[in-house]
């Protein structure tokens, strides 16, 4: 059966081709069926694979040599193991739901564009599957770039609008900055290990000493790639802009799947990272910083999608914190739960926007609870989940990360908890301003307010259920559970777990205390937020420090000032001065010199015999002197 793994990415590709080539001829419904159908089938296959792997045989399926250069052989191979199937399920599952959702959400689009949308979406799923299935870093990189491309295409889906396309460029280019590091890391890997296959590399890396310079370098460079892809400091600014794309796209790409590619990559190469504690420290700090920093920004955003975007960034920060402190399972766990509730949040937001006729400013909403019951309830579930209130999923995953952070370094934990409080606060600020209070929109908006169609609500409901219960696959031992996910993934992380066995186990009492503090403070924050914003939301422009937050700490402006402008100026200088008058000037100068020489030299030919003979005599004289006295 696992020979059939190639079908998993292939089907979306086929969907892409059919929808892309036949976009003129296909009817919308047909497009929708193809678009969703292929994903559904690959979801089913992934399920089968999952159970196979659970039954306990994971394997590497090789198809053909992609690159063979001297001793460097890179096959086109897929790896089916615990980690990849988990991601397979997330991608295809959530992906399928989002596809279904999109069929309704994108319905106003004309046929061709509709098909274009679905083909891009399928292409994205294809590349994402490639990313997680690849059995070596090159295939991963192919998927890595592929998802980047799709996000570029989908952000700029409404290509008429220059801001949107600009956002697409920004996303792609920032990802390129990440790829810069990633590629460099790959080359270093090749130089170090002579291969890119996971299995060979990890087996070779096993017997390298801790903090080997090469390993630190490689892991850091790979991490740069992850920073770009998963929108961490300093390369996170593209993600909020990426909200320009259609909301389901934001749900799928910029919340559930693509942005977690970095997490996947580090989890995949966990051994290398555990061998390079220095890098681990960097990862943890970056993650923590991102988590808190993004959370602060999210406090003051008024665009519903922007809030969610920054919360995504911050949640990703948590995942990296988890990775940084060695809680790989926790990170993957959080990826899963986050995929559910964040997708749910985005889809809910989408449903709201749909209902409000593309109004995204929460200050113009309010009191939608009655009008959009399904959306409201599902949204609430998601908010509770992300806020980390037991027993919903977010609690378990976040708690696992925080616990690990605590055992690594108390400061991590403190900051992490503060971040969690902020999360709870801004999420419920959003919830309250959107759904509670009374409606603040215009009249025809109010007149048209209605619950979204079934195709949109059902995915919400399913995701809500998942967001609610998915936490129970990872109930920690303290709460009498035995963490199925950890057992399932243990083969992947076995190597690194062996290395960090000295990881001192923290007492149960402490754990209870930690959970209590986290959950309690979160609840307090929620209550404060709800009470504060359900009655009188802050409609006026933020002042003072709030303004700074609202303008995202002016980071974009900063980057513009230190990177973009100088570079532009410099290349302008090169183009105008160095190229034109410098290099080309020299070349033309030679020509002009020859011409000038011709004009001057011919004056020697002054037409007077006397002068000619004189010059001949002088020349003879010179020859004499050279011949006789030199």
């Amino acid at each position: 059966m696992s020979k059939l793994v190639y079908l998993v990415p292939l089907l979306p590709l086929i969907g892409f081709l059919i929808n892309g080539l036949g976009r003129k001829s296909l009817t919308k419904s047909l497009t929708a069926i193809i678009g969703c159908g292929v994903i559904l089938i690959s979801f089913i296959i992934s399920l089968v694979l999952f159970f196979e792997v659970k039954a306990g045989h994971s394997e590497v399926v090789t198809y053909f040599d992609f690159i063979t250069a001297g001793n460097l052989k890179i096959p086109f191979a897929f790896q089916v193991d615990q980690l990849s199937v988990v991601f397979l399920l997330i991608i295809t599952g959530v992906g399928f739901l989002i596809h279904v959702y999109s069929t309704a959400y994108m319905h106003e689009e004309s046929g061709a564009h509709y098909a274009r949308y679905f083909s891009f979406l399928n292409l994205f799923v294809f590349s994402m599957l490639l990313l997680v299935l690849g059995a070596n870093y090159l295939i991963m990189f192919i998927g890595w770039e592929g998802v980047g491309l799709c996000s570029y295409l989908l952000i700029g889906y409404w290509f008429k609008n220059p801001e949107y396309t600009a956002a697409g460029n920004k996303a792609f280019i920032m990802n390129r900055v990440g790829d810069f590091g990633f590629l460099l890391g790959l080359f270093w890997l090749i130089q170090q290990f002579g291969t890119l296959n996971y299995s060979d590399i990890f087996s070779k890396a096993g017997d390298m000493k801790i903090n080997d310079a090469a390993l630190v370098g490689i892991t850091l460079l790979l991490f740069v790639g992850a920073v770009g892809k998963s929108a961490q400091i300093p390369l996170y600014t593209w993600l909020p802009d990426a909200m320009a794309g259609p909301t389901p796209v934001s749900a799928l790409i910029h919340a559930a799947t693509m942005v977690t590619a970095g997490v996947y990559m580090i989890a995949r190469s966990n051994l290398l990272y555990t061998l390079a504690p220095t890098t681990m420290g960097v990862v943890a700090i970056i993650g923590l910083a991102t988590a808190i920093f993004a959370a602060t920004i999210a406090l003051k955003q008024n665009d519903i999608k922007k809030v969610l975007a920054y919360s995504t960034v911050s949640q990703l920060g948590y995942m990296f914190l988890g990775l940084g402190v060695g809680a790989f399972t926790g990170a993957v766990f959080h990826v899963m739960t986050h995929a559910f509730f964040k997708a749910l949040l985005f889809l809910g937001a989408g449903s709201v926007i749909h209902a409000m006729h593309h109004e995204q400013d929460i200050r113009k909403m309010g009191g939608l609870a009655k009008r959009l019951p399904v959306t409201h309830w599902t949204f609430l579930v998601a908010c509770i989940a992300i806020a980390g209130i037991p027993p919903l999923s977010g609690f378990f995953s976040k708690d696992e990360i925080l616990a690990a952070a605590f055992s690594a370094n108390t400061v991590y934990w403190v900051v992490g908890v503060i971040g969690a409080i902020l999360t709870a606060f801004y999420m419920f600020r959003l919830y309250a301003t959107t759904f509670l209070g009374k409606f603040r929109g215009s009249h025809e908006q109010e007149h048209h307010l209605h619950e979204s169609p079934k195709a949109m609500t059902w995915p919400l409901i399913i995701l809500a259920i998942l967001a609610a219960i998915s936490g129970f696959v990872g109930v920690p031992a303290v709460l009498g559970g035995h963490h199925e996910l950890e057992n399932f993934l243990s083969p992947i992380f076995a190597g690194s777990v062996k290395l960090v066995h000295d990881h001192h186990e923290i007492a149960h009492s402490t754990e209870y205390m930690l959970m209590g503090v986290a959950a309690g403070t979160a609840i307090l924050a929620i209550l404060y937020a709800v009470s504060k914003f359900s009655k009188k939301p802050d409609l006026e422009e933020a002042q003072g420090f709030g303004r700074v937050l609202q303008n995202k700490w002016y980071v974009d402006e900063l980057y513009d000032a230190i990177f973009v402008k100088p570079l532009k100026g410099f290349s302008g200088f090169l183009n105008a001065v160095v190229e034109k008058s410098g290099i080309d000037g020299i070349v033309n100068g030679v020509g002009r010199l020859v011409n000038y020489g011709g004009r001057q030299l011919r004056l020697l030919q002054n037409g007077q015999v006397g002068a000619y003979i004189l010059m001949m005599v002088v020349a003879t004289l010179v020859l004499f002197i050279i011949q006789l006295f030199v």
Binding site: R602, L603, Q605, N606, G607, Q608, V609, G610, I613, V617
Partner: protein, 111 residues
């Protein structure tokens, strides 16, 4: 007399000719100076021929060494005569067209 007397004499004569060519603008004079140069060479040739003759006649009295030098002079005179005839013809033609014998009068051809 030793040969260097003759060498210096004719070289001097030769250079006088050159100086004449360089300093005068009257083309006839210039031409005459060229003749002067030729005569310098002739003189030196004869001197050399006698020198070689002397050197050779020590070995055998009936040598004809050096004869060729004098014959060369003869040929030079021949050529000179021919040149003069042509040259004067050209000069006359010039004078006919432009009533001047100034070499610098003609410099349409330049640069």
């Amino acid at each position: 007399m030793t040969i260097n007397h003759y060498i210096f004499l004719s070289v001097a004569l030769f250079c006088i000719g050159i100086i004449g060519v360089l300093t005068r603008r009257n083309m006839i004079i210039i031409f005459m100076c060229i003749e002067l140069m030729l005569n310098a060479t002739n003189l030196l040739l004869v001197a050399f021929s006698k020198m070689h003759y002397l050197a050779a006649s020590v070995a055998d009295a009936a040598t004809t060494a050096g004869t060729d030098g004098q014959l060369f002079v003869f040929f030079i005179m021949v050529v000179a005569a021919a040149e003069v005839s042509v040259g004067l013809a050209i000069i006359v033609m010039m004078f006919r067209n432009t009533h001047s014998i100034d070499v610098n009068f003609l410099n349409r051809l330049k640069h």
